[in-house]
């Protein structure tokens, strides 16, 4: 059975000896999924904290295209690419954390433009700030649950953890978010 570990995704169609016809059908299938889900996966990567969400989503689809023949069936493709986005984003954030430790903080330059740059409602910004401060796994669970609306089982597959762990991650994540938002509210009084 095909696992969702993206290490396996490095196998190429050429290596697995697929015929030209199966490669063509794989591309057609991936193109359909791409058209339907690419924006959603870009946004998933963005919400999980990727600095270049499009790059993450493209890489996930590229891996899917190379490994499509080894999937157990076409219906697993979405779960596969979703899990790959989660894994790639986690790796990317880990890399950035190390890179930032070695790079001094940049100083803000003078800005001469007059266009609007930021627009977020204050209340939502507080939620987003609290969400961004969550540990990666909890953030993933919250985003998959409340943004994508996935079931516990689907989240478990995407994150590669058990359903019980998903429940505890969501519950603890919400608890931390609630505490953080209450604290913000109290500071505001």
């Amino acid at each position: 059975m095909r696992t969702l570990d993206d290490k396996d995704s490095d196998r190429t169609g050429a290596e697995s000896g697929e015929s030209a016809d199966s490669a063509g059908s794989a591309e057609t299938a991936v193109a359909g999924l791409f058209a339907a889900r690419y924006l959603e996966l870009v946004r998933l990567a963005g919400l999980l904290g990727a600095d270049d969400p499009e790059d993450i989503a493209q890489e996930a689809f590229a891996r899917l295209l190379r490994s499509y023949g080894s999937l157990r069936d076409g219906s697993a493709a979405l779960a596969y690419v979703r899990a790959t986005v989660c894994n790639l984003t986690r790796n990317r954030r880990r890399h950035l954390r190390v890179a930032r430790l070695r790079t001094p903080a940049e100083r803000l330059d003078d800005v001469a433009s007059s266009e609007q740059a930021v627009l977020v409602r204050e209340e939502q910004r507080e939620v987003i700030a609290a969400l961004a401060a969550l540990p990666a796994r909890r953030r993933e669970a919250i985003v998959l649950r409340y943004w994508l609306g996935l079931s516990v089982e689907e989240i478990a597959v995407a994150m590669g953890i058990s359903a019980g762990t998903v429940k505890s991650q969501v519950s603890r994540g919400l608890s931390v978010l609630g505490t953080a938002l209450e604290k913000t509210l109290e500071e505001g009084r």
Partner: protein, 432 residues
């Protein structure tokens, strides 16, 4: 579903809207997939035999060169001495600082008066020792001059007039008028002397003064994180550095002076605005009078300065008994400073209404729009377009709009519906 879960879902939905895709995403993805496949199929390059032999030899040669160089430098007294020999060390001559004196621009200054302006009396002869600091920015020309020593009466904060002796004056000319300020020489051990902030420029706060000659730069570190560089000039025979800077009004700043090594030698905090003009505290949480308006906070970056605007509608009771017209409540201010404007506006039937908040160099306008409006665009006379933002919410009676564009240009604000049809137009005159 709990309230917290609803809030998380709403926030995620809004946040997700920020992420968009590029039109060539599919092609780029296929390139990625193809590149990886090609790389995997490509044979591993064979390492050249000569390279494996040459690398250790090159490393050994480098070690020898470093050792010999170190020995030579030790004999000659190190790097500093070596540099001095070619004229680049600490004892080498520095490039002349400042600009050359320009006596002609000082043609309106009179003896016994710190400043005399050309449009006031052209017959007053040149007097005093001109120094080179002259800065023109935003229509303001600032000169420093050294005048014959005299006495100047100055009122202190308690209302007492103190007589001070000085031979130094700062003069500024802007538009039709100007001002002159006598300046004390620096005291013993004093590094910097600053004037009171000069806020009559319309757009910026101007601070100036003199500093020890070791000061080489001045900057205003603004509360929003931006840095505004000032000017430092030196005059022939003038013992100090003359400095001047201007920064956007309405924001707290710290004026920082640095020496040639970049070290901050003095900092002067410049809070804004004065306590007497405070209306509301910028922090929404301490802002009680209009708490009913706090349904949304919009943060913009206008002219490099972060500006926030609260928009919303007053509560139905008791402000709007008998289903009276909804009232827009807007408070705008600068992040880290004070709110400078507040207003409540009644929505005329079938119209858009506007409020204005002007911030150099940007006009930021906001208001209510009729239902169905989904976009607002400021169109300037030369065709430039600035897209604004429409904010809607569960508790909003009408859509609220905000748009920013360059301050001095007249603009036409065009409001459109989802089908792109023009719903309303506002003509905004130039804001001098």
């Amino acid at each position: 579903m709990t309230d917290l879960e609803d809030r998380v879902r709403d926030a995620l939905l809004t946040w997700a809207e920020e992420f968009t895709t590029s039109p060539d995403a599919w092609e780029r993805m296929k390139t990625k997939a193809g590149r990886r496949a090609i790389r995997r199929q490509a044979p591993r390059p064979v390492r050249q035999r000569w390279l494996t032999r040459f690398t250790p030899l090159a490393a050994a040669a480098a070690v020898v060169v470093i050792g010999v160089g170190t020995a030579i430098l030790a004999e000659t007294g190190g790097f500093s001495a070596a540099l001095r020999q070619v004229g680049l060390g600490h004892s080498g001559s520095l490039a002349p600082r400042g600009t050359s004196p320009s006596g002609s621009v000082l043609g309106g200054f009179a003896a016994g008066s710190p400043c005399a302006f050309p449009n006031q009396s052209k017959k007053i002869p040149v007097a005093g020792v001109p120094i080179s600091a002259k800065v023109t920015l935003d229509g303001v020309t600032t000169w420093w001059t050294r005048v014959p020593e005299g006495s100047w009466g100055e009122e202190d904060s308690s209302g007492h007039v103190r007589v001070r002796k000085t031979d130094l004056a700062l003069c500024q000319i802007h538009g039709e008028g100007g001002s002159g300020t006598p300046e004390r020489p620096l005291g013993k051990g004093q590094l910097v002397q600053a004037s009171d902030p000069f806020n009559s420029l319309g757009a910026g706060s101007s601070v100036s003064g003199i500093a020890a000659a070791s000061v080489t730069s001045v900057e205003a570190d603004l509360a929003n994180g931006n840095v505004v560089r000032g000017y430092v000039a030196y005059g022939h025979g003038f013992p100090y550095a003359a400095w001047w800077l201007t920064y956007p009004q309405g924001i707290a700043a710290t004026v920082v002076f640095r020496d040639a090594a970049g070290k901050a030698v003095k900092e002067i905090p410049e809070p804004y605005p004065p306590a007497s003009s405070t209306k509301f505290t910028v922090k929404p949480t301490k802002w009680d009078p209009a708490r009913a308006c706090q349904q949304a906070r919009v943060q913009q970056v206008a002219g490099g300065t972060k500006v926030w605007t609260y928009v919303g509608f007053t509560v139905p009771k008791p402000v709007q008994p008998n289903h009276a017209a909804p009232t827009l409540c807007v408070v705008t201010g600068i992040v880290g400073a004070e709110a400078s404007y507040t207003g409540r506006y009644t929505m005329p039937a079938g119209q858009v209404v506007r409020t204005a908040f002007v911030l150099n160099p940007t006009s930021s306008l906001s208001g209510m729009a009729v239902h169905g409006v989904t976009s607002v665009t400021a169109v300037l006379a030369d065709g430039r377009k600035y897209t604004g933002t429409i904010i809607t919410g569960k508790l909003f009676t009408y859509p609220v709009w905000i748009v920013s564009y360059p301050l001095k240009d007249p603009a036409t604000l065009v409001f459109r519906d989802a089908a792109g049809k023009e719903v309303a137009v506002l003509h905004e005159p130039a804001n001098p």
